[in-house]
Symmetry: C2
Subunit: 570 residues, 2 copies
C-alpha cells in the first residue's frame, strides 16, 4: 500500500474543517516522513498504530467525509464502531484505545485480543492522530536536558549558559527511533555532545537525513574518540553507533569511560516488539521473534538486565543517570526481580514535574494548509504575545533554525496556565491564532493538540506520576476526569489510552485536539479547553500537595475546593 500523507491546501473533502482536521491529522500521522512504518499503520513507539487495519482506516475516512457538524464518531482501538447525533459544540471524534479491565490489563491478554483483530496498540499520539514526528518530542527532550543542566551542572535560568548548559558534557544514550531520535539534536541544542547506540543502521541514517544527528560511526572506539574530541573543544556534536545499547554501556565501563549523563530511549517498554536483545543482528532477532517469541522475550529481558546494571554502575562511578520513560526499570523489576532497578530516577520527578505543577506541557499546533509560512507567522506570534519570556524566544529561534518540518508544518512550545489576566497562556495563544485564521493572515485552520504526557492527563506510576508526593502514583481517576472535562469543554477530538510509552497496564492517559477555524465557536472552545486542560495539571498536583501547584492555583485563581489535604482555600 502506497502512502501519501495528509491532504493540504484550503479545499476540503469533509463537511467542515473540524472533520477535515481529523482526516488530515490521521493521514499526517501516516505520512512516510512522520511515521516509522506507515505500510503497517505503525506510527511510532514499538507498534503504536493509527488504525486497526487498512479496512478500518478506509472506514474511518469514509465516516469523516460524511460526518455532519452535529455528529460524533466513535473509534474503538482503531476501528470506527458508531456515530451519533450530539450537538455542534461536542467533539466530532471520541477515541478509546487499548483499554482493558484491570485484572486482564497486561501484554498477554492484549496480544491475544490483538491476534483476534479486536484491539490495537494506540501508544500515546499514534492512535489519537496527534503524532507529528520527532519534531513533536524535540522540545520535551530539550527542556528536560536544559533542566538537568540547571540542576546538575549549575547552568542558570536566564544567564548566558541557559540553553547551552551541556557545553563540554558527554551524554550517552540508546535508541534513535521516532522519539529517541530527538535526543542527539536536543543535546546539541543544549551545546553538548551525544553518543547514541542504535541497532538499526537505517534508523541512524534517517536521523542524519533529517538533521537530528550529525554522524554515523559504527566503530565504538572511533565514535568515542570523535565524541571526546568534541567535548574537549566544547563543540556541539552527535554521533550514532550501530550497536546494542547494553553492549555500548558495557564497552564504556570496560574502557573506564564515565559520561556526564547516561540515559536510554530504546523501546524497552515492549520486550517483544520494541527492544532488541544483544548477540543478534536485527535480521536474526526478527527471525527469532517470528520463530520463538518466548525465547525472544527471555533474551530481550536478559539484555535489559545487563543494560540496567550498566546504567547503575555508571551512576555509581559519577554519571548523572535517569530513565527516559521507556520503563526499562519496571521491566527488569517485574520480570527479573531486579529490586534496585529504581535506584536511578525517572525523568519526570527529576526534571519535569515542577513544570506540570504549573500546567506547563507540550502544547503544539499544526498548519492544516501544509504551508510553512503559516507556522512562521505563529513563531512570530510567540514573541509578540510573550515578550517577557526569553526562554520561549530562544526555543522558537532554535526550532526555526534547526528543526525540520515532517509532514504538515508544526510547532511545539511548552505553555502553561499562568493566567494573571483571566486567560491561560495556552488559551491566549490559541485565541490569537484563531484571530489570524479569521483575518486570513494564516491561510487555513490550525489544529492544536499535545502529547498525552502532559500536566494533568496521565497516570503512570513508572513515569509521569512516579513518586508523587502523596503516594497517589497509581490513581487513574485523573486522566479519566481530564478526558471528560475536555469533552465537556468542547474539544474536537478526545481520546483515552492504556499503555502508551510504558506498555499495557502501566498507564492511562488522555489527549484532545482543538481546531481553530477562525470562528467564534472555535474561540469559545479554545478558551474553555485551554483552561480545563492545563487546569487539570494544577489541581492534580495541588491535590497531591505540591507547593508550586498551590502557588499557581493562588496566582492564577484556579478553584481548588478543598485545598491541600482538605483545607479550604481562600
Amino acid at each position: 500500500r502506497r502512502y501519501q500523507g495528509a491532504p493540504t491546501g484550503t479545499d476540503i473533502e469533509c463537511e467542515g474543517w473540524r472533520q477535515e482536521a481529523a482526516l488530515r491529522m490521521l493521514n499526517n500521522n501516516l505520512d512516510p516522513e512522520v511515521a516509522e512504518r506507515p505500510e503497517d499503520l505503525v506510527v511510532y513507539g514499538g507498534t503504536g498504530r493509527a488504525a486497526r487495519s487498512w479496512d478500518a482506516y478506509d472506514a474511518i475516512l469514509d465516516e469523516l467525509r460524511s460526518l455532519a457538524s452535529d455528529e460524533t464518531l466513535l473509534v474503538q482501538s482503531g476501528k470506527p464502531v458508531g456515530r451519533f447525533r450530539t450537538h455542534e459544540r461536542a467533539p466530532r471524534v471520541l477515541i478509546a484505545n487499548s483499554n482493558l479491565v484491570g485484572r486482564w490489563d497486561d501484554w498477554a491478554h492484549f496480544h491475544e485480543l490483538e491476534a483476534k483483530g479486536l484491539m490495537m496498540y494506540g501508544q500515546m499520539t499514534a492512535g489519537s492522530w496527534a503524532y507529528i514526528g520527532t519534531q513533536g518530542i524535540i522540545q520535551g527532550t530539550y527542556e528536560t536536558l536544559a533542566e538537568l543542566a540547571r540542576q546538575e551542572f549549575g547552568a542558570g535560568e536566564g544567564d548566558e549558559d541557559d540553553g547551552a548548559g551541556l557545553r563540554g558534557r558527554l551524554v550517552v544514550t540508546g535508541g534513535l527511533g521516532g522519539m529517541g531520535g530527538a535526543q542527539p539534536l536536543a543535546v546539541t541544542m543544549n551545546g553538548g555532545v551525544c553518543l547514541a547506540a542504535e541497532v538499526s543502521g537505517s534508523r541512524i541514517d534517517r536521523r542524519i537525513e533529517t538533521r537530528y544527528l550529525d554522524e554515523r560511526v559504527d566503530d565504538l572506539d572511533e565514535a568515542l574518540s570523535r565524541a571526546e574530541a568534541a567535548v574537549e573543544a566544547g563543540d556541539p556534536y552527535s554521533v550514532g553507533v550501530r550497536m546494542n545499547a547494553a553492549d555500548l554501556l558495557e564497552g564504556l565501563l570496560a574502557r573506564d569511560v564515565v559520561p556526564d549523563v547516561v540515559t536510554d530511549q530504546t523501546s524497552a517498554h515492549d520486550e517483544l516488539d520494541g527492544y532488541y536483545p544483544s548477540g543478534y543482528s536485527v535480521a536474526e532477532a526478527d527471525r527469532l521473534r517470528e520463530r520463538d517469541p518466548q525465547g525472544y522475550v527471555e533474551a530481550s529481558l536478559d539484555t535489559m538486565v545487563r543494560h540496567v546494571e550498566a546504567i547503575l554502575e555508571l551512576q555509581e562511578r559519577g554519571a548523572v543517570a535517569f530513565e527516559y520513560g521507556n520503563n526499562i526499570r519496571g521491566q527488569v523489576e517485574a520480570h527479573r526481580n531486579l529490586n534496585h532497578a529504581f535506584d536511578f530516577p525517572g525523568f519526570v520527578p527529576a526534571y519535569i514535574r515542577p513544570l506540570f505543577c504549573r500546567g506547563k506541557g507540550p502544547f503544539r499546533w499544526i498548519a492544516l494548509s501544509g504551508d510553512p509560512a503559516d507556522i512562521h507567522r505563529t513563531d512570530d506570534l510567540v514573541t509578540e504575545l510573550f515578550p517577557d519570556e526569553p526562554h520561549l524566544h530562544r526555543w522558537i529561534d532554535l526550532a526555526r533554525d534547526r528543526v525540520a518540518f515532517q509532514g504538515l508544518p508544526a510547532r511545539v512550545c511548552w505553555l502553561g496556565y499562568g493566567s494573571e489576566d483571566g486567560l491561560t497562556e495556552r488559551a491566549r495563544f490559541a485565541l490569537a491564532m484563531n484571530d489570524l485564521v479569521r483575518t486570513g493572515e494564516i491561510s487555513a485552520p490550525i489544529v492544536v493538540t499535545r502529547d498525552h504526557l502532559d500536566a494533568g492527563s496521565v497516570a503512570s506510576p513508572n513515569r509521569e506520576t512516579e513518586a508523587m508526593r502523596d503516594g497517589s502514583d497509581a490513581v487513574a481517576d485523573w486522566p479519566v476526569l481530564n478526558a471528560l472535562v475536555n469533552c465537556a469543554a468542547g474539544a474536537d477530538i478526545v481520546s483515552v489510552h492504556d499503555g502508551g510509552g510504558v506498555g499495557i497496564g502501566n498507564s492511562l492517559h488522555a489527549n484532545n485536539h482543538v481546531v481553530l477555524d477562525g470562528s467564534e465557536l472555535a474561540a469559545e472552545k479554545a478558551r474553555a479547553v485551554f483552561t480545563t486542560d492545563p487546569g487539570m495539571g494544577v489541581i492534580r498536583h495541588a491535590d497531591a500537595g505540591y507547593p508550586e501547584a498551590l502557588d499557581e492555583a493562588r496566582r492564577s485563581n484556579v478553584h481548588v475546593p478543598m485545598g491541600e489535604g482538605g483545607e479550604e482555600d481562600a
Copy 2:
C-alpha cells in the same frame, strides 16, 4: 452524625435544578431507608460510598450550592477537586471513582490508597449518586426470570403466559440479603414458587416484613411439601428456610427432588465476610472468623465446592442452573481448581444479553419533589406511550402494587432502543416526562438514571461481559466511550468507576443522569443521551457479532460503520 435523606419539594438551594438534582440524589443515596450504613457514608455493596469523608461530603454540597449553570464540578473518588467553566449543555458534575492503573488495579493497592485517604470504593451506583435501594434491583431479577421462562419453558413474549412463565415451576436459591432478597418476590411476580436457603433468621424475617417473601419454615421437609403443593396448584408462593444453601441442595439430591431452576445469591464473591460455611451456626461461624480467619476461609471454600458440585449435579439431572453474579464459579475455580465450575452459565450471557443487544437495560427515574403522585403519573405514562407492550404494563402494575418506595419515590422500567419512529424507547419516555414537568402535571423535575450494569456501559469478564461471542470480554474501550459520548450528548452527571459488584480490577463501568426540568434544553439533552446510551449497547454487541444486535441496528437505523466483522452495512 444524624442523617435525613434528600430535601423534597419545589424550593431549591442551588442556582438551578440540574445542580439541585445532584444534591438531592447524593442525599437520597444516604437516606436511612436507602443506605445500609449512612453514618459511615456506606450506601450498599460492602463498602460502596457516596463521598470520601464527611468533610468531602460537606465540600461537595457547598460546591453544588454555588455552581453556576455553565460550570462543571469534578469529583475524584468522592472528593471535589476542581471546578471549571464549560458551557450550559455540558455536564454539571463529572465523577471518577476507584480507578487505578492496570498493574496496580487490585484490592491490596486500593486498600493502601484508601488508608491514606486518597480513594474510596464507589461500587456502581453509590459513588455516582444513583442508588435507590432494593427497588432498584427487583426488576432486573424479575426480567432475568421472565427471560429464563421464555427461553427454557417456552413462555412467549406477548402471550398470556408472559410475565407469569414460572407458574407451576420451582425455583431454588440461596441468600436473602440486600439484593438476593429480591429473588422470592421476583419469582412470585413471575407466577412461580421459590424455595430459598438463608443462614440468618433475621434476614428471612426482614424479607417477610417488607413483603419480599411469603413465609419462613425452618424444617426442610415441611418447606418442601408446602412448595410442592403450591407448584401443584399453580400458585405463586415463596418460602425461606434457615439453613445453609449447600446443605439445602444436597438435601434435595438426597430426596431425589429436582427443581426446575437452581441458582444462588449468597455473597460467595467474598469468602471471608460474605459466605457462611456449612456445619456452623451463624454465631459459631462469626466466632470462627474472628478467631481463625484462615480456618474460616478454608471451611467457606470447602462448602462452596460442595455447593457448586450440587448445582452441577442438579443441572445434570435436568434443572436449569445459572450463576447469579456472585462469582461462586470463579471462587472455586481460582482457589480449589474446580475446572468444571464454569459448566453452568452466568445470568448475563444466558438471559440478559439478548436484552442488552437491543439496548434494553435498567432505566429508572426519580421524582425530585418527593411526591409519590409524580411517580404514579409516570406509571400511567408507561401504558399511554407503550400501548402495545403488555409486558411493560404487567411490570408497572406489579411494581405499583408490590414494591415499596425507599427515599425519593422512584420507578425502574427496562426500556431499550427500538426506535422505529426516530426516537428510542428511552428518549420517547423521557421527552414525555419532560413535557409533564413543563406543563406542571408533575410537580418538580424528574431525574433519569440507571444501573452501571447496562447494555453498553460495562466491561466485566466474570459478569456482564462473560463469554462474549467474539472473546472481547475484557475490552474496556466500551465503557470509556460510553462515558465520553454521554458527556458529549449532554448528560448532567457522568461517572466512570472501577470495581463495582465484582471487586476492584474486575470491571470498568459508566453511568449518567439526565435532569428533566421541563426546558427545551432538557429535551435536547434527553433526546441525545437516550439515543447514545442505549445505542452503545447496540453497537457494542453488533461489533461482537450478535444477531439480535445486528437486527436491532437494521430495524432502528443505528449506524454501524463496519457492520459485523468488518463488513459494510447497507
